[in-house]
Structures are given as C-alpha cells and as structure tokens.
C-alpha cells in the first residue's frame, strides 16, 4: 500500500511545488502506514526522477508514452489512474498548483473518487473509523474548512506554499521503475499543441523582489517609477485587482486570489489598501513593506514594515538611495 506523489517538472528540473508535495507527503505516509512513491511523467522525466530518493520516495515511477511528450491534463490524469490501478496505491498527493489540482481532478473524475484540494494539514488517523480528516483552504486562504474524506483511494493536494520543500532527514531508495501506460488517442485532444514565450527569466511568481502598485498609483504611466525600482532590485512589478480593472496593467501582473500567488523575499506594496483577495496572493512573501498614506490601511497593519507617505515621492527616493549606495 502506498501514497503516490505526482511530481511536476520543467524539462527535467523538478518544480519547487513538487518538493513541497514530497515534504508534505513524508510525515503523511508515515502516519498512514504507507510507503511513499513518486511519479514523474513525460519528456525529461528520467532526469527529474534521479535524486527523488533524497526526498523520501522509495519507488519512482517514470511514465513515458508518445502522447506524453508535453503536458496534457487528460493524458497525465489517465496515466496516474493506470499507475494507481497497477500498483494498488491507496492515496495520491500533488501540490495544489493549477496543474496539480487539474491532474488530480482528472484522476478523481476517472476513478469516481472524492478529491480534497489545497489542504494545509491532513490527519490519516482522522475520525478513528478509517476516514481521513483535513483542514483545507477556502477563499484562497482567508477561510479554512475542516472536512472528512471517505474514499477507497484518497486524493489530496497540498496548498502551494503551505510547507517549504526540504530534503528528507532519512533518504529512501528512490528506485526508478519505468511505466508505460496504454493511452487512447482521444487524450491527445488536450495535449499542448504549441507554446508562446512572452518573458524569459524572472516572472511574478519566481521574482525575489516584487514592487506592487494599487489604486493609489493613479494611472498606467505612474507605474514607471515602480518599474525603475523593480529594475534596480532585479525584481518585477505586480499590481492589485483595482489596477487591472482600470486597464492600467495587464491581468498577468495581478497579485491575488484570482491572479498570481507570489512568494518573494520582499514584497513592496505601494498604494495598496490590502483587500483580502489581494492579501491571500501576497501572504507567502517572506517580508512585506507597505508604502501608504493611510496608517490604518490593511496592508500597513499586516506588513512587517511600513513607510507612511505618498508612494510617488517615496518610491523614487528609494531608487535614488539604492543607486547612491551602489555609487
């Protein structure tokens, strides 16, 4: 009996999200009396599979098939379903990224099993009658829900950023086992047909520094000083929902529940009141500096550090100071 962790990777490089899932999975598998295995799918999976023993996987299933060259939610979901049937796994875990939740939802629909998305904690001893209990995220994290899960095969994702991915204290064998699923051509209908690269390098979700602007910035043009500061700090600009609704920035810059979840070393939130829907997208930041004229704004009271003042004066002054110190 095993817990199978779905590990996502980008052409062979494991995602941080996968390491979070493995980190979350280790104590869960131990408490449930299950062996922890991992599955990596598609082109590059071989490279991603090596070293998973270090993260506590005893068996690493490497799935390959001509239809698994690029991501496809149905192809990936069906692959995991066949692996679950083949190995007799009784639980499946992934990180609750968009992709992780989508693949596990596919598995759930195909197996007709319940699926509890975005858990913060899971207790496999649960209610004492074989059901698991868990606390999961609602409203992107501003509300929590305790649930019981009654299922033959437990399907769970762990909320992204709920844990930090670290290697196992005691490594497992990490034995690589190839797996060849039988895939119907029908799953090809949802395999990625093409990719469009818009930005190379750092992005909102990976940037070490995010300089955010809200309604207080005032216009699309007034974001220029924020861009300048972000450029100096090797970061990127983000914004609130009010900004995208006003058409000042593209939606891809939006930080929040319906935008991007960020986790930078520091988030400089300027002119942002800090509505809950924005906060849940920013709360994984390691440090938050709020710049606001309102001492009582939510963003200010929740931030570790704040400057009270007009961002139009404060931001350029910070940029100048950074440049001055660099000489």
């Amino acid at each position: 009996m095993s817990l199978l962790v779905i590990c996502d990777h980008d052409r062979g490089t494991l995602s941080d999200a996968s390491l979070e899932a493995l980190t979350f999975g280790r104590p869960l598998a131990a408490a449930a009396g299950l062996e922890m295995g991992a599955v990596v799918i598609g082109a590059g999976a071989d490279a991603a599979a090596t070293g998973l023993g270090m993260h506590g996987a005893s068996t690493v299933h490497v799935a390959s098939h001509p239809l698994l060259t690029d991501f496809g939610p149905e192809a990936w979901g069906e692959t995991v379903v066949q692996l679950v049937r083949g190995t007799g796994a009784t639980a499946v875990l992934a990180c609750g990224t968009d992709r992780g939740n989508e693949v596990v939802a596919q598995v759930a629909a195909r197996l007709d099993q319940p699926f509890v998305a975005n858990c913060r904690s899971v207790d496999p001893t649960g209610d004492g009658s074989g059901n698991w209990t868990m606390t999961r995220v609602q409203w992107g994290g501003s509300l929590l829900e305790d649930t019981t899960l009654t299922a033959e095969i437990r399907l769970v994702t762990v909320a992204h950023h709920a844990v930090e991915g670290v290697v196992a204290e005691t490594p497992a064998s990490g034995t690589v086992v190839p797996f060849a699923p039988e895939l119907d051509d029908a799953v090809a209908r949802t395999v990625v047909a093409d990719r469009v690269v818009l930005t190379r390098g750092i992005t909102l979700s990976t940037a070490p520094v995010v300089v955010g602007g809200g309604r207080g910035v005032g216009s699309a043009e007034a974001f220029a000083p924020l861009e300048e500061l972000a450029g100096e700090l090797g970061g990127v600009v983000g914004c609130s929902r009010a900004v995208t609704n006003n058409g000042w920035r593209p939606h891809s810059d939006q930080v929040g529940q319906t935008g991007t979840r960020i986790a930078p070393e520091i988030y400089i939130a300027s002119g942002i009141s800090g509505a809950i829907q924005h906060w849940v997208g920013a709360m994984a930041a390691k440090n938050i500096l709020a710049i606001n004229t309102d001492r009582e704004a939510n963003m200010v009271t929740r931030a570790g550090h704040a400057v009270i003042g007009d961002l139009h004066q404060v931001i350029p002054a910070i940029t100048d100071e950074v440049r001055r110190r660099r000489g």
Binding site: E145, A186, T190, V192, R195, I276, Q313
Partner: protein, 263 residues
C-alpha cells in the same frame, strides 16, 4: 454556436467573511453576493463568442433560490437562457454538484441539442474545489482544459483549419500553452480573459423579463464532508514604521541590504 456557462453565487470578494455559529456555512447577514469572478468572465466570453459567431448563451447555476439574482445579472449582460438547480443554503460537495450539473446539462441537450462549448470558472472564489468542471466534462465524455485566458474558434486539426476546433490559451509562468480542443468541449476560464461589460439600461430591462427554468436534481452526496468552517488564526505582528515620506528611503534601503536583495 450554442454555449453553456456554469456559474456560482458567492459572497462579494473583498468582504470580511464570518461563519455561522454551527460552522456549516458563511454568515450571509451584511454580505453582498455576486457571480464568482472567473465565471463572470466566462459569461462575458460566451457573449462575445456568440456576438462574433452567432448563437445563444445558456447560463446554469446550482445554488439557493437567491442565485436567480446571478442568472438575471447574466441576462443583463447578454445571456439568453437560464437554468437554476435549487439546493438549500449549505454548499453541496463537489462530486454531488458535478453529478447534478451533468444531469441537468444532459436534460437540456436532449431537448435542444448539444452545446458546442461549456465554460466553467477555473475554481469558485469561495470553496475553491478545483474539480467540478473536470468532473462534468468526464460525465459528458468531453475534453476539458483549465486555466484558460484566451479562446478563438477555428484552429488547426490534422494540418487543416477546422471551424470545429476551439483554440484555448492557458497562461503559464512567462507565457502561454496553446491547446487545439475539438468541440464539443469544456473549458475552465480565468479572470483576465476579458474585462466583463457592465449591464446597459436595455440589458437591465431584459433581465427582468428573463425566464428562469428550475430543474430539481436529487443526487447522492460524495465522500468529502464538511465538519466546519473557521477563520485562520491571524498572525498579529507589530508593524515597524520605517519613517514618513521620502526621508524614510535610507531606512528602507538598510532593510533591503539586510535581506540581501541589494546584491
């Protein structure tokens, strides 16, 4: 084109959410309700697609009787037909919700013909189960891709342009994945795919006359059972005020140096 959009009535995002004493649901007193944001964009997308290609938009919701408000709002921005699957005030679990929706979709399709496209929001703003659309697509035997921020009708299939293909763009870090999905298909869309319009006066009048069909469904509960909702313990931290106005800049840069982001 025949397009169906499934929407959910949720408390207006941004409000402080309180929980009822029994922890079973949110306290609706003092709350405004709205269409879940991804789904509001899905309705807009459906209306735009039918404006460009002809056809009609049906909007379906599973929710309390009050969810009729969200269906009428959809009417005010250009949707044509409306179906309410009534439940009592407590959310149904995702499996149960999906089964009821799939049955109701099949019932509409039996009389009126298949939908070319069914749109869901990527996830609901409140429960965020990330699965109802996938389950409904599976019940109906149709392809589904989530996270969609762009849809064009007509795409390449087998080296030729095929009007029966929906080209769907999914936002990923730093770009897009492109999917050529043969219709009938299901797509889970995200906010940002468009900027939803506001209702016009004409739209508001039309919404008052819109006919909402009711379709009661009795389906079994799934394996995920809510024990209680609760608010997370807020980590109250004292905010360190670094200063006031531009004079605070040196203190800010000290902090940046300390965090090692100034290298």
């Amino acid at each position: 084109m025949r397009i169906l959009v499934c929407v959910k009535r949720v408390p207006a995002p941004g409000a402080r959410i309180n929980v009822t004493a029994d922890g079973q649901t949110v306290d609706a007193a003092h709350l405004g309700f709205t269409t879940s944001p991804h789904e509001e964009c899905a309705v807009e997308e459906a209306v735009q697609l039918t404006e460009a290609h002809g056809g009609e938009v049906t909007v379906m919701t599973l929710g309390p009787a009050a969810a009729e408000e969200q269906l009428r709002y959809a009417a005010s921005v250009g949707a044509h037909h409306f179906v309410l699957i009534p439940i009592n005030d407590v959310d149904w679990d995702p499996q149960r919700t999906a089964s009821a929706l799939a049955e109701a979709v099949a019932a509409v399709e039996e009389t009126d013909g298949a939908f070319d496209l069914i749109l869901f929001g990527n996830e609901s703003a409140d429960a965020g189960g990330f699965q109802v659309g996938v389950r409904v697509a599976n019940h109906l035997g149709r392809p589904i891709v989530n996270g969609i921020k762009g849809i064009d009708i007509g795409g390449e299939q087998g080296g030729e342009l095929d009007e029966g293909v929906a080209v769907a763009r999914r936002e990923i870090d730093g770009g897009f994945e492109v999917y050529n999905v043969p219709m009938p298909a299901v797509l889970g869309v995200k906010e940002g795919i468009n900027l939803p319009r506001y209702p016009t006066m004409k739209g508001r009048l039309a919404s008052k006359k819109a006919v909402v069909a009711t379709d009661e469904r009795t389906v079994e509960a799934g394996g995920q059972v809510r024990l209680r909702l609760h608010r997370p313990v807020e980590q109250i931290s004292e905010t360190v005020i670094l200063g006031t106005g531009p004079e605070a800049a040196p203190a800010v840069v000290d902090l940046l140096e300390e965090l090692g982001v100034l290298s």
